[in-house]
Structure formats: C-alpha cells, structure tokens
C-alpha cells in the first residue's frame, strides 16, 4: 500500500519530462559525443573528415545555442521506468497529462518543429500532440522508489527494416539482414551515418521491432548484452558494419559507419524468428531524468531501461 506522503507530484513529472525533452533535443549524450570525436580523428578521407568536423561542430553549437541538433525532432515519445515503490499523485492519468503539457511547452520554448500531424489529411495541431501522441512506453523496476523519464527524438524514414525469418535461419541470416539494411539505406547515407544499430531477434513480430528500437536508443555505446552468445553477435555485426569502407554520410571512408550494434532477443515462436532492425542517425538523441520520491530531479547520462529484471533474466515464475 503506497503512503500518500511519498507520492511524486504531477508538477515534478512535468518538469522532468520537459528537461528530458530539452536534453534530447539539444545535447547529445556523452558516449555519443566521445564516439564522434574518435571517428573524426580516425577518418583519413577528406570528404567524410570534413563531414565529421561539421557534425562535431553542430553538436557543440546546439548545446551552446540551445537549438535542436536536428530540425527533424522526430515524433514525440517517452519511455518511462517506474519504480515499483514509486507512485504519482493523481496516478497514471496525471502522469500522462504532465507528459503532454511538457511536450507542448518544450515544443514552443525551443521552437521544435511541430512534427506530429494527421497521417492522411496532414492536419497539424502545432504542439506535437494528437491522436496516440506522445506515445509512452512503460516498464517496472523492483526495489526502486523513483520514476525515470527518457525522451527519445528520432527522425527520419530510412534505416528500419523488418523480416520474418524461419526456424532454419540462424545467426548468419541476421548478418544478412543487417547487411541488406545498410546496402539499402546506408550507401547513399539516407540513415545519416554514423549510426547506432539496434537489432531485435525473436518475440512476436511487433516485439522484435520494439526491442530493436529500444536496443538502439536506450543502451550506451560500448554496452554488451549479458548473454555471451549475444554479446559476440553484437561484436560481429559491428565488425560487419565497419568493414564496408563506409564513412560519414555514406561516403568512402575509414572513420566507420556505426558507433555500435546492440542486439536484444526475446523468446519466440518455435517455428519462426522475427527480425527487426533500426539504425539511429548521427542525431542520436536521448534525454534521461530521474524523479526521486521527494520530487528532486536527477539528470542521468544513461537510461535504466535494460536491467536483469526488464529482460527477465533469472526471474522466477512466482
């Protein structure tokens, strides 16, 4: 039974969501910034070297000027990690109202593009709200009395793919799927490389696509899956992506195409293996703010989306 004294206020949630959106829009995470500096240094071809220099300058200007890193601010969305011991005054409805208000405010204050519109008649309410918008994905974490709000701004039409593999297709078919996605969207740079690639294998069809997205946007560069077999696959796929001679913008280069590859798996249908792939562009944006039960906000570098509990590793039935 929750103690009402310890409930987090709606206004604290709103401020956290606002701050998460602001960080996502204007400030690339430290791991991404570091990776881009490294790629710029490693690049030996003139064209992609100039491009990497501009990408690095842009991320610095965005932070200084508080301008969106990219004009395509994606479609407003939030991932929320809810501590099992945390509660919000007014409940989940208050939480979602706070997220909507924060989204509208930050859209105006930072002059974000109003990117959400009706899919057929293109009516645009001008505040990044609307039918099913912003979408919020929740998960729960045991023994935690905080709520973490993660804003992800991901734009673009290109780079994602889905494929229904069958029981005869093994890990090498995953290599093929990733290579296809790079051939299709990476060669001309439609993915805005350098990219961070997320791969989802298994689960249901929609789950494979969802965990691929989460793998791409909610894990830091350098992170490895706890299962050694999956971690090895991540290393192999990263080698594959960076063995093709692609640099920034898909030009021939030595700086690399991908900053990392993250793979998530989910137990799947005994006869099938759905495969989802996402490539997150150089505007690799996430903002993470944790709200503690006393209402204080804590900016965090990395999301807490993936934990042993969230993957249900070693979790008993009862």
């Amino acid at each position: 039974m929750l103690n009402p004294v310890n409930l987090i206020s709606e206004s604290s949630i709103e401020e956290a969501a606002y701050e998460a959106h602001r960080l996502a829009a204007t400030t690339l995470p430290a791991d991404v910034q570091q990776a881009f500096h490294g790629m710029h240094e490693r690049e030996t071809h003139e064209l992609p070297k100039q491009v990497m220099a501009a990408i690095v300058e842009n991320m610095e200007v965005a932070e200084i000027d508080q301008r969106p890193i990219c004009a395509d601010v994606g479609v407003s969305r939030i991932y929320a990690v809810c501590g099992n011991e945390a509660g919000v005054a007014g409940g989940g409805i208050a939480f979602e109202r706070a997220v909507r208000r924060a989204t509208e405010r930050v859209t105006h204050d930072l002059a974000l593009r109003s990117n959400r519109c009706h899919p057929l008649n293109r009516t645009n309410p001008g505040n990044n709200l609307g039918v099913f918008s912003p979408n919020v994905e929740y998960r729960f974490e045991p023994d935690a009395d905080w709520i973490e709000i993660i804003a992800v701004h991901k734009g673009g039409a290109f780079g994602s793919d889905f494929r229904m593999m069958v029981d005869g297709d093994g890990a090498k078919a995953v290599h093929k799927g990733v290579l296809d996605a790079i051939a299709e969207f990476g060669r001309r740079g439609l993915t805005c490389p350098p990219v961070l690639i997320g791969v989802g294998i298994g689960g249901t069809k929609d789950q494979a696509f969802a965990i691929a997205k989460q793998a791409a946007v909610l894990r830091p560069i350098g992170d490895r899956h706890p299962e050694p077999e999956i971690a090895s696959l991540e290393d192999e796929l990263l080698d594959l992506a960076n063995s093709l001679g692609l640099g920034a913008m898909g030009y021939e280069g030595t700086g690399g195409y991908a900053t990392d590859v993250h793979v998530e798996i989910a137990y799947t249908h005994s006869a099938l293996t759905p495969l989802g792939i996402h490539q997150i562009c150089q505007a690799c944006r996430r903002g993470v703010v944790r709200v503690h039960k006393d209402g204080t906000l804590e900016r965090r570098e990395q999301p807490s989306w993936f934990t042993p509990y969230s993957r249900r590793l070693g979790v008993e039935v009862a």
């Binding site: 003139e46 064209l47 100039q50 491009v51 990497m52 501009a54 990408i55 300058e57 842009n58 991320m59 200007v61 965005a62 000027d65 301008r67 969106p68 890193i69 990219c70 004009a71 395509d72 601010v73 859209t107 002059a111 974000l112 593009r113 109003s114 990117n115 519109c117 293109r122 009516t123 645009n124 001008g126 039409a157 290109f158 494929r163 229904m164 593999m165 005869g168 297709d169 078919a173 290599h175 093929k176 799927g177 290579l179 296809d180 051939a183 299709e184 969207f185 060669r187 001309r188 439609l190 805005c192 093709l244 001679g245 692609l246 913008m249 898909g250 021939e252 562009c281 150089q282 505007a283």
Partner: protein, 232 residues
C-alpha cells in the same frame, strides 16, 4: 575540391562552374518546400506569390523547426533538409518552370535526374552536410522574410522565405555535367558489399518483389517504380 561563397539569385554561369565535391556557402533569399508544397504548386496549380527566378532561385527541401510567437512573428531554431530522391517526379518540372539554379536537399537524387534535368537546365544539387547539422544552419538564418500558404499547408510545410548569411557548408552532389557524387561513392563502396554478401547465406524465404541485384540500385527509389528515361 573548391570552396565557393555565392549570392542569391545565383547566375547560370556561377552554377555551371561548380563540380561535385565542391563546398558552397550562400547569401540571400532561399525558399522551402517538400512534397505537400510541390503538390500545391505543380498539381493544384497555385502560383508562388513571388518571382522565384529573380528573388529566390534556391529551394531547400525543408520544413524548419520554428514557432509563431505572435501573429506574423516567427522564431526559427534549426533548419535541415529531408531526403530528396523521393521528389524525382516533381523536381525536374519545378526547376524548369521557376528558374531554380540550386536545390538544397539530403542525399542527392538519382543520377538520371541530374543528367536529364539538372545538366540541361543549368541547376546544381547541394546536399546538406552530415544530413543533420541543423543548429549550424539555423545560426545562418538571419530573418524570416515571409511565410506563405500557412493556412492551406500548415506551418511546417508552408512556403518559408529566409534571409540567410553564409549558410553552409553544402556539398555539390549533382553538377551541370550530370555527375553525381553519391553515385561515384557508391561505385567505390560496392565491391566491399559484394565481398560481404558472398560470405553470407540467403534467407530461406524471399519476399514478393525482392531483388537479387541489390548493388545495381543506387537507392531504394529504383525499386519503387521510378522510370528510367533511357529505357523509354
């Protein structure tokens, strides 16, 4: 690879001197437009309210990150282009009808568009750098000169006219000889893909319409029914 700083309206002579890989910075008036705008002008026949050829012969495939703080008072934060190859059915008509000398976009267009349309017309394709240095470009927007068709098209897709100062860098992706930087780079990269494909098995099941000659296609537009003018 030369660097140029050019004033708008661009002259045909200046544009014909540019070569793929050159870096370009711009001063003057640019105008925006994406698919909804092209449909409004080219299909529905609405005439742009200014003479583009003499005032703003540079178009950017962009919907800006911007808000209207008070009626007619705009604040633009970041500017970035969207993927341009998908506008192949509009761009040749548009540049010819309205005297456009440079199209700023993302990732270029198929080589045949440069050969059949840009080279004849005297137009270049300038690609944004990194495809997302929007804050840098945003800094170069000095003034919103006008916003037209806001009610009809909505604020992002409206026709925005910007006064820009030293807007860039852009890279020439398509020049007036019909050359394509992206196509040139793809040709260099393709042998590496071919080698990687050789080591991998095919999927057990294929999808309807799936192609086997992946590397023959510059971009996915090739799979989407884009006509090859040489075949006609």
């Amino acid at each position: 690879m030369a660097t140029h700083r050019l004033s708008i309206p661009l002259t045909e002579e200046a544009v014909r001197e540019l070569r793929i890989g050159d870096i370009v910075y711009l001063d003057g008036k640019i105008h925006t437009g994406r698919g909804i705008y092209y449909d409004h002008v080219l299909t529905k026949g609405n005439k742009p309210p200014i003479d583009l050829a003499t005032e703003s012969n540079v178009q950017i495939h962009c919907a800006p990150a911007a808000v209207e703080d008070a009626p007619g008072k705009y604040r633009v934060s970041s500017v970035q282009a969207t993927a341009s190859f998908r506008y192949w059915k509009w761009v040749p008509d548009y540049i010819e009808q309205f005297g456009i000398r440079a199209v700023i976009g993302k990732a270029g267009m198929d080589k045949w568009v440069y050969e059949e349309s840009f080279a004849k017309n005297g137009t270049v394709f300038l690609t944004t750098v990194g495809y997302g240095v929007a804050a840098l470009y945003g800094r170069a927007i000095k003034n919103v000169d006008a916003v037209y068709w806001k009610e009809e098209l909505g604020l992002p897709e409206a026709l925005w006219i910007f006064d820009v100062e030293n807007l860039g860098p852009f890279i020439v992706d398509g020049d007036c000889t019909g050359a394509s930087l992206a196509a040139q780079e793809i040709e260099k990269i393709n042998p590496n893909f071919a080698a990687a494909y050789e080591k991998l098995p095919d999927f057990t099941l294929k999808r309807i319409g799936e192609i086997d000659d992946t590397l023959e296609h510059e971009v996915i537009v090739g799979r989407m029914g884009c006509p090859d003018p040489k075949a006609e």
